[in-house]
């Protein structure tokens, strides 16, 4: 890795780490009864949100699903707003109305996550339609699971995006299960990327646990969208290493061994190895320090999870202040001009 590559890699690592740390915190918060309802964490899949969102500018938009914390963070939602939301506070990104599954932060391009499987695909196509109408060069991204692939929204959304050449990227996070149902059971053709052909659009499969691979594939797809080349279907093959939703049993439909195997392919660990192989870049320490808020808290004490839920009100508790910096120190939603020239 040269200097530019490794600074980019560090940025990706930082995004992933932020997600991982936040999710671990949230999981603890759920265990402690501070977070209510269903809470679907993104642990294991961080490379996808990080890699794709690194290719987006602040003006680009993202639509996501019930498993949306990672996308929100990667797109630049301040962790504090995410935490406040799940704690049910008025300072949450959805003012406490949404919780885990309904995150809205249009000011940073997180247009919404949804508790219904499917709509995000159509909505991303719709935002892309607006961008095309305005010819403003923006790009929309839909993140969705393998489960959504069998839904009519996938079919209708990809087809419309294709015939109108909309600037949209469809990112399927194939983590191989929809709740407990294996994709190999529920899909007549479990090769998601190959399904692009049914709509006349390029389908690309990528190792979703390799953030650099995701980054490269996303760059290509985003460039195609931005340049008027139309949509891409990007299948990121990955795995969630926590249960479908916090508190659910996990080893009835898959084995402990399988989960362990995938844990060994942890996207953070893999990138760390690469980074260390390439020598410790100058800013490696600094970057760790910067994201220390969320990264240290869970280690120091699980009790650092912000206090008990209370009615939404303008302020979050003081205790949460230290652990969740208002904004990630590095601008997560980089503008296009920041892209390393070597990548262009």
């Amino acid at each position: 890795m040269n200097g530019r590559d490794s600074s980019r890699a560090l940025d990706l690592y930082r995004r992933m780490l932020l997600i991982r740390r936040c999710e671990e915190q949230l999981a603890r918060g759920h265990q402690r009864g501070l977070i209510h309802g269903a809470c679907h964490t993104y642990v294991g899949q961080e490379a996808v949100a990080a890699g794709v969102c690194a290719q987006l500018g602040a003006e680009d938009v993202v639509f996501s699903t019930h498993r949306g914390h990672g996308h929100a963070l990667a797109k630049g939602v301040p962790p504090r707003e995410l935490f406040a939301e799940l704690l049910g506070r008025a300072t949450g990104c959805s003012r406490g109305r949404g919780g885990s599954m309904h995150l809205f932060a249009p000011e940073v391009g997180l247009m919404g996550t949804s508790g219904i499987v499917g709509p995000c695909i159509l909505q991303a196509a719709g935002a892309a339609y607006t961008f095309k109408l305005r010819a403003d060069g923006r790009v929309a991204v839909a993140f969705f699971g393998d489960g959504a692939v069998n839904n009519g929204a996938f079919h209708e959304g990809l087809n419309m995006a294709s015939i109108w050449k909309l600037p949209v990227v469809f990112v399927c996070e194939n983590n191989q299960f929809a709740t407990e149902v294996p994709f190999s059971y529920s899909a007549g053709n479990p090769d998601v990327a190959s399904r692009g052909a049914a709509y006349g659009l390029p389908g690309v499969a990528v190792d979703g646990n390799d953030v650099l691979a995701v980054d490269v594939a996303a760059e290509e797809a985003v460039r195609r969208a931005r340049e008027g080349g139309g949509p891409t279907l990007l299948e990121c093959r990955t795995y969630r290493t926590r249960p479908h939703s916090e508190g659910m049993p996990d080893f009835t439909y898959r084995t402990r061994e399988e989960v362990e195997e995938w844990k060994a392919r942890c996207p953070l660990a893999r990138l760390r190895v690469k980074l260390l192989e390439g020598g410790t870049p100058r800013n490696w320490r600094r970057s760790r320090r910067k994201s220390r808020g969320p990264s240290r808290t869970p280690r120091s004490s699980p009790r650092k999870v912000p206090g008990p839920t209370r009615p939404p009100r303008p302020r979050t508790s003081t205790r949460s202040r230290g652990s969740c910096p208002r904004r990630p120190s590095a601008p997560l939603a980089r503008s296009r001009s920041c892209r390393p020239p070597s990548r262009r």
Partner: protein, 319 residues
């Protein structure tokens, strides 16, 4: 209606964020000529012919609105858009609330309703009660060209999702339309005809039938006050209550199904807020609670007509 086409044409000129989605609304100009001539003027991006995927293009319209456009979905018959109710109820209706008002949802969903032309059961529904049940949606069901134009313009200038339903049998109807740039705000009923013996609330095509009934009854000295709510969400029951205070008698006429329908909602509000004013039971006259049959004589039997409205008014006066 020519009137809504005028409103749409003018608003599209004013606001470049407006675009239309639907089947055959491009070069073809719409199954009901709702977009005739617009394709030539505004091109394929702003008049976008869709594949047959109602859920898909309604969901797309939702995202387009979130990103700042103002989509008009022209779904031809309301029966077709039932496939998109998930997108409408779960997404379009909720985005503004869920985003704390940071996202707007200026989507106009328009199409035809109503029994007629032997169109049979998949081309003759009137589902405004379903939409009106859902928080976050506005529902307009005009009965004449002037109202249609004013309400459509209002819809195209607001921030909320609007379901705009025109009765197929009204599409050809002509009527005076004021000139110029005016709108009709939602939630204001029109007193179509003042009267003192009985209050009739009628919607859409039923307003015409009720007018015919009123004319017939007038000859016998029966004076009917006829009210057209024009929008069913928001629903202006104050105007109805004011009228009932005068007449003491209320009949609601709507072609849509009765149970959990327009008559139910108005009657319930009057029974809550104007019970003392009533001199007789509240009557409702609705379309038959059955799928619309094809055969002309059967079809004629399922929807209220001027005759059945007249009879219902007479019955009410005898109560």
């Amino acid at each position: 209606m020519q009137a809504t086409l005028e409103a749409l044409t003018e608003e599209m000129a004013r606001d470049p964020a407006i675009f239309v989605l639907g089947e055959g609304i491009g070069k073809r100009g719409g199954n009901f000529r709702t977009t005739a001539g617009l394709y030539e003027r505004y091109g394929p991006l702003r008049l976008c012919d869709t594949p047959i995927c109602e859920r898909g293009f309604v969901g797309l319209a939702c995202g387009a609105a979130m990103a700042g456009a103002r989509p008009v979905v022209d779904f031809m018959f309301v029966d077709f858009v039932l496939d998109a109710l998930g997108e409408i109820f779960n997404q379009i209706a909720k985005v503004q609330y869920m985003s704390g008002g940071r996202l707007r949802m200026p989507v106009l969903l328009r199409g035809c309703i109503g029994v007629g032309h032997s169109a049979a059961t998949h081309h003759s529904g009137s589902y405004h009660p379903l939409f009106a049940h859902i928080p976050g949606l506005r529902v307009a069901v005009p009965s004449n060209p002037a109202d249609a134009k004013g309400l459509l313009r209002h819809a195209l200038r607001g921030h909320d999702p609007v379901v705009f339903l025109e009765h197929r049998e009204l599409l050809g109807v002509k009527g005076p339309v004021p000139e110029g740039d005016w709108e009709i705000p939602f939630g204001r009923a029109a007193v179509v005809r003042p009267g003192k013996d009985v209050t009739v609330v009628a919607l859409s095509l039923m307003v015409r039938h009720a007018l015919a009934a009123c004319a017939a009854l007038e000859k016998e000295g029966i004076s009917v006050e006829l009210i057209d709510p024009r929008t069913v969400a928001p629903l202006d029951v104050d105007t109805v209550l004011a009228s009932v205070r005068k007449t003491g008698r209320l009949l609601i006429v709507d072609e849509a199904f009765g149970p959990f329908g327009l008559g139910s909602e108005i009657a319930a509000q009057v029974a809550e807020r104007g019970l003392d004013q009533l001199d007789a039971p509240i009557r409702r006259l609705h379309g038959a609670h059955a799928p619309t049959p094809y055969s002309p004589p059967l079809e004629a039997a399922v929807a209220p007509t001027a005759k059945t409205v007249e009879r219902a008014i007479r019955d009410l006066l005898e109560d």
